[in-house]
Each structure stands twice: as C-alpha cells, then as structure tokens.
Subunit: 337 residues, 2 copies
DNA sequence: CTGAAAGCGCTAACAC
DNA sequence: GTGTTAGCGCTTTCAG
C-alpha cells in the first residue's frame, strides 16, 4: 500500500480535505472531536504530509542549502555538523554541496539549490565573485556567508576575528621569549589571509619588534604543501626564525614536517603555531598550539540569521565577529630563561 | 522582479504552457522554430524550472537522502564527499543528516527525508533496527546500505571486506615476526565487529598460532577511549602482546597513546595496526599501518545502485564486498631477525 | 505540431 | 465548524 495522502484521510474519516488539513495543522476553528478522529486515523495509517506539495502551495520548502568548501577538511566538517544539528532543531533539512576550488561550482550550486526550492543558503566557500552574491541579495533571497569577509560588506557575514587570533598568537610567542617570529600565510587575494598578515605586522609593532620581511612568506593555498614548501625556504635562510606563525593548522603541519625532517626539535629549536585548531592538532603526538573558535556558536548564529531572513525579518547584525580563543599546547614552547 | 515561471514564458512567447514545457524538455514533437524562440527567451530572462512543482507532478524530486553516522569522522566525511560528487554528476542533490549515536535518529531522519520527497536514501549509520529497514524495502522504497552488513540480508548492502582486511593485517604481522598478537575490537552486537574478531581468530589458526583469549578485548565503541582503556589493560597483563590489531584507526590512536605514555616505543616494543586508514594515520608523526578501501568506488556503487532502484530496476548485486588494501607504515615494524 | 484541460497534494479564502 | 473552490508550477493526456 502506498503512502496515504491528505485526500485519503479525508475519505477515510468522512471529512473534507480542508478539515483534515486544519486538524493536522492545529488550526483554531475545528471541533475537538473531528480533530481527534482525524489525528487518530492519521497516526494509524502512518500519514506523513507531502512537503513538496505543501512547498508548492506555501512557497516554503523547509529546506536550506549549505555550500561548503571541502567536507573532508575537519574544520569545515565541524561547522557542517553544527549547522546540521541547528537546522534540524529548527525543523529544516539541509541540502549540502561541496565545491572545492571550482569557482563556477558555487554559482552552479546556488542555482541548483534554488531550483530545488531551498528557502535560504549558507555559503562557507571561499571563492565567489561578489557580483553573483549581490544578485541574490538584491533579490532579497536569504543568504548568510560564513567564514568570509568580503570587500563590499554585502549581506550577512559571520567570521571569527582572525586579527585577534593572530595577535594572541604573536603576543604569546613574544611573551614566552621568542624573538624572530616568521609567518607563513595564505594567498594574498583572500581577505582572510590579508587580515592575518596585517594582524601579524601590527602585533609585532605594538611590541616594538622590528619586522623582517624575509620572514613573511605567502603561499597560494591554506594547505600542507604550502607549509612544507615555505618552511623549507625559511630553514635555508641565513637568519632562521625561532618561531613560525602559520595561517592555519594545515600549513603548520607541513612546516612541522620539514622541521622534523631537518632533525630539529619543536619547540626547542623552532616553535610552530597554527590557526583553526583542527582535530588533529590535539593529538598527543602533535600538540599544536592554535587558535580555535566556537563552531557551535558560529553555526547557530548562521542558521538563526538565515531563518530570520527567511521569516522576513531584517537581520539585526550584518557583520559578526566571533572572538576566538588561544589553545596553548606544546609546539609553542614554554617560558625561556 | 521575481523568478519567471513557465507560464510567464508562455505569455512572453505567445505559446501555450504545454508547448513551452515541451520545448524546454526537448520533446520530439515540436517545431525547431518554436523551440528556439522559447529556449532563447528562457535564457534571456534566466528561467529556472521549479523542481518542487515538477516533483509534485512527476513524483520525482531529484533529491536523495544520505544518513551518516558522524560527519566529523574523517572516514565518513570521505564517503560523504564522494557520494556528493557522484550524485551531483548524476543530476541529484543530497539532503544530509548526521545521526551520531541516536538510535531513533535514523528512523526520524528517514521520515523527514521521505516527507521532503527524496527519491531514495543511502544509509551509512551503524545503528538501525532491521525492522524499519524492512518496511522501506517491503514498500519498494529505494535504499542502499553502506558499510553495514545486517543479519538478514535485506536490501542492497555495500561493505568493505573486513575479514579480508584483518586477515592481511594479522598475516603481515606474523610474517614480519610478531608472535603474540592482541586485538582490541568494537562492540559485539555489531556485525562489523564480529566479522573482524572472527577473521582474527581464523587468521591465527590458519597460521597455526594458538589463540590467547586474554589478548582479545572488546570495547563498546569504535573510539579513542576504547583503545586507551583496553590498551592499558593489555599492558598490565602478565604476558604482554608484541602487536595489537585494532578494529579501527581511532582505537589504534588510543592504544598508541597508552604505549607512548608508558615510555615504550612503537613498533619496537609493541606494534600497532588499525583499520580504515583515516587521514590522520598518514601523518608523519603517526604513520599507522592500516587497511584502506576505495571510498570513491564505494560511493559510486552506492549511488549507482540507488539510482538503479529509483529507475525501477531490480538491483543486480545486493551484497557487495569491496576488497580493501593493506597500507604498511611504520607502526607495524619491519622484518625481525 | 500545438493548445486546452486535468491533476499531482496541499492550504487558504470564502461561503454556509 | 465545516465544505467548496481555486491555485501554487509543472507535465501529460487528448483533441485538433
């Protein structure tokens, strides 16, 4: 027997479709008796409303889209999980799309999702021309951007405060006695990257430490390879650093690998710190000092803000900075002398 | 201006809705001229078909559901990613639900997804009463189970060949000179676990190595904690093992931690091997010997089989075993003597 | 080759 | 309180 429809229920109970609908959505104007009978039979036959039909009628699907860079990145996975949880809690289901580096992927994903009738979209992918986003926003289509800050501050953007994170890292390194602090960062065309470079410069200046431009290396991705490649370069330099600030944990892993291979020890010879605090960083054999932020909070804010927009409210906060937290582990070393 | 509908296109082009529909779905009986004109204007105004409406009509949503245990588990994330890719390639979008240990979660997820009109569901969660699955299958609702083998072989089940994996591990350990091989496994009520225990016993027997029941410990989850707790017990025993087969990588990480803390070295004092080959296992500071399987293949088969069912075909293969592969790294040690 | 009409399952006026 | 009607956007007979 196939799934019963509302109409089937109507026939079975002898009421009209409208009454059945009212009973199921606890509408005010309905007799207790009718309601009970209908709900009872609905339960008995295992009736489930067809959201597709409802969606068509109501122009609301209770579906949201989530566009994510790379699910396999433990950091993105964490966000995703929290968003899933939060959305489910709010009664929404989530269509996910992982775009990797495909620039066109995001646009395509947005189109596909809209065709599927999602009520709103959360974008965490790093690359997207602002123009296509502006189109959405102009259309008043609910969108939240997570983990990215665009030049033009279009729409709702939720990001951890990267500058503050870097500042904490640099300050901590200086305080415990490191002097020559290098930085390996991400591509310069990402605001995330730039923010971190700037915060690094500023933190040094505030502490009256001269900036050595040779110690600042810019990779073309937040990746293990970047860390590996540029740390090699750092080690070959005349004046080696005694600490390296990496713009994210993956870069830090790459850097650590080079240092290990060179037979140097971390943190005694060179300290290494990362950013994002991914799962692996906590592993006893790694123990990377890093900066973490409250994923759950991030996800909650994103979902909440999206639902506000879906419900027709104007989002109160458009630019939200989440204060991150320093996680001190072994790779940064302890107080020297 | 809001999104144009098919009706709008009809008005703009002067054709009827039916003709527009035919033009857009390249139906045979339509004049080239009409088709061109319609497609042209559709492009111009950025027409996108409303899949919700189409779904209602066609009883097909081009949505599939994916139920996964824990997205943050790098291993599950890998499967998810491949499934996403594959589904997208086939023109389907994916609704994801992460259930963690909630037994009820899976059932609820199935219901929610069906309400949303998914055309089929891939289930990778570990816990689910068979009965609710049987209901689906009796209803002929397309389902594929990934990574799990049920007692009653209901429906399509795709799993890596765990027995073969364990056999490779044990045989390898024996070949390179280990003698007292312990095993830390998962809960006994999971077929995945049982298969691995049995394979362990069998591999020992085949090699004429006596089984020492004290060396077989059964945890209640595939987790770091399990490894940590039971490896502690192993080390306290009179006759310590010289190798430990862990039923998955997480357990292995826990075990390694205990061995590290005890000041023993891996693999010189005790070898450790895992199963699943998660990301972290390849890390230079870890280098866990493990067993891996082709996620991409797994995902492809799952999606393909699901789509076959959706298209009304009877799946050719119902029980599919994927042959895994041994990944030898440092923690198992090398040939002794 | 094209149009008119019906209907997928549901909800919201509007009557009674 | 309840039923009737209409319609969301689309596809698909069935006529012409």
């Amino acid at each position: 027997m196939k799934r019963p429809t509302l109409k089937d229920l109507a026939e079975m109970t002898g009421f009209s479709a409208a009454t059945v609908s009212r009973a199921l959505n606890d509408h005010p104007r309905i007799s207790r008796k009718a309601k009970n009978r209908i709900i009872e039979t609905a339960r008995k036959v295992g009736y489930q409303p067809n959201l597709i039909a409802r969606g068509l009628r109501e122009k609301k699907s209770y579906l949201i889209g989530l566009i994510i860079y790379d699910l396999q990145n433990s950091f993105h996975a964490a966000v995703t999980r929290s968003i899933l949880e939060e959305a489910q809690y709010e009664g929404y289901q989530v269509i996910i799309r992982s775009t990797m580096d495909h620039a066109s992927g995001v646009i395509e994903a947005i189109e596909d999702m809209r065709r599927a009738g999602v009520d709103g979209i959360i974008i965490t992918a790093t690359r997207l021309e602002e123009s296509s986003l502006e189109d959405l926003i102009k259309e008043q289509f609910p969108v939240v951007q997570l983990m990215r800050r665009l030049e033009k501050n279009t729409g709702v953007q939720i990001v951890p405060d990267g500058a503050y994170g870097i500042q904490m890292l640099v300050t901590h390194l200086l305080r415990i006695g490191h002097q020559k602090i290098a930085m390996i960062g991400g591509p310069d065309d990402l605001s995330t990257s730039r923010t971190r470079y700037e915060a690094y410069y500023q933190a040094l200046q505030e502490n009256n430490v001269p900036v050595d431009r040779n110690l600042v290396l810019k990779g073309c991705a937040f990746s293990y390879e970047t860390g590996y490649k540029f740390c090699k370069i750092l080690l070959r330099q005349v004046s080696k650093p005694d600490a390296i600030v990496c713009a994210d944990d993956l870069i830090a892993f790459g850097a650590m690998q080079v240092i290990d291979e060179a037979g140097l020890s971390i943190p005694e010879d060179i300290a290494v710190v990362g950013f994002d605090d991914c799962d692996m960083s906590a592993h006893p054999r790694i123990q990377l000092t890093s900066v973490k932020y409250d994923m759950k909070l991030l996800a909650q804010l994103a979902v909440k803000s999206l639902l506000e927009q879906i419900d027709g409210l104007i989002p109160v906060h458009k630019l939200i900075d989440i204060v991150p937290q320093l996680v001190v582990r072994k790779t940064c070393g302890y107080l020297k002398g």
